[in-house]
Amino acid sequence: MRVFSRGCESRQAAYLAWADRPEAAERVALEAHAASCVECADALRYGRRMDVALRGAFAPIRERRTIIAPGRVRLAVGPRARAATNPWLRAPRFFGRLAEVSVMVGVTLFAVGSSMDFSTHQPASTSPRSSVPGSLHVQQPVGDIDYVRWFRLVKADVSSIVLDPTRLPFGGRFDYDPVEIVRDLGASPR
């Protein structure tokens, strides 16, 4: 059976010797260890080269600057934050807003209250009755087709329905002459 070793425990410290900047004593100890450890000597040598390469690669970006002014931050924050620092500046705005809300509520209550007319309510007995609720007192079938058939077959109690006379023409007759269909005159139209 073969197992893979995890390497020297000091290898990480050797790699980071240039980034971590250990104290003098630690560094001397690390170099002394590297003298007898191939892995750590390799890590120390190439850690240095990597450090130089990375610092050189990032050097131009490190000099890059921006010309943003702090005024942009103030614009982004807005006047709200400045007012928040001083409570006295918030008081007039609060009372102004309170007055606005009071007027809004007053106008809404006036509009709603004036639109209500309680005298228009009629007694329920004079309203025309529908035959549908009476039909629905019977248990209806579950299926759609059965329900439609049942609904047509169930007859409402017609005697209890009060007809509204205003919906019919005067005298029970239509106010125009119904079209009479003349059938079988006995003669050809020709």
């Binding site: 980071l16 980034a19 390469a53 610092r55 690669a57 131009p60 943003i68 931050v73």
Partner: protein, 221 residues
């Protein structure tokens, strides 16, 4: 590159003093904090988003958050870790703009390279080497790349990086170690950099433990 003279750059007060002054309404103190850290945050945002406009917005958003949080901020020594942490979060949460083709990190150095002294061939050679290194950095995962950027570009030490990324220093060391080893593997393919691949870890034979020859007392004897 010419540096712009900042009106608040000469402020020698500590971050702690500046935060307390800004809390009392001193806008010059807040401006001093802004000028002190805007370039670092801009570069950090640029390294993560690769978009200069987005990096500028990140600077503004970071300081806007700092302004809103002034009443809660209690910096012991430096405000930089707090600001950088906010900037990192904003950078990673920012979605790239539609239709924008993000450049590689190495393309951000073109402007600086144009101002570099030396023969054109030398400048081109240096640019190529930088491009190789930054291309390898681009291929790292986000956690490892962030540690590399914070250390080698923003100049933060490992303790400060640990504060920014909110993890123990040991984790930062481990990530940087891993990143350096990955970078070494990538860069070893380019002999002009003078970096060789790391030595393979050799498999070793498992040592069979010696047989126990001493007498073992048996229960009941």
């Amino acid at each position: 590159m010419k540096t712009q003279r900042d009106p608040a750059a000469g402020d020698t007060r500590t971050d702690h003093d500046l935060v307390y002054a800004a809390r009392d309404g001193d806008t010059i103190a807040f401006d001093a904090l802004f000028y002190r850290y805007r370039d670092g945050i801009f570069r950090l945002g640029l390294a993560i988003t690769k978009d200069p406009s987005a990096a500028e917005e990140i600077v503004v958003d970071t300081f806007a958050r700092a302004h809103r949080a002034l009443a809660r901020l209690e910096p012991d020594d430096s405000l930089r870790p707090w600001l950088y942490r906010v900037a990192v979060n904003l950078s990673y949460n920012r979605r790239p703009r539609k239709g924008l083709i993000l450049s590689s990190l190495d393309e951000a150095v073109d402007e600086a390279l144009a101002n570099e002294d030396g023969s054109p061939s030398h400048v081109a050679e240096q640019a190529e080497l930088r491009r190789l290194v930054l291309g390898a950095v681009d291929e790292l995962g986000p956690k490892h790349r962030l540690v590399v950027v914070l250390h080698y570009m923003n100049g933060l030490n490992l303790t400060e990086i640990a504060e920014v990324v909110d993890c123990p220093v040991g984790t930062v060391k481990s990530r940087l170690h891993y990143a350096l080893r990955r970078l070494r593997t990538h860069l070893a393919a380019h002999p002009e950099l003078g970096i060789e691949p790391s030595r393979p870890i050799m498999a070793t034979e498992l040592r069979v433990p010696k047989q126990i020859t001493a007498a073992v007392p048996i229960e009941g004897e």
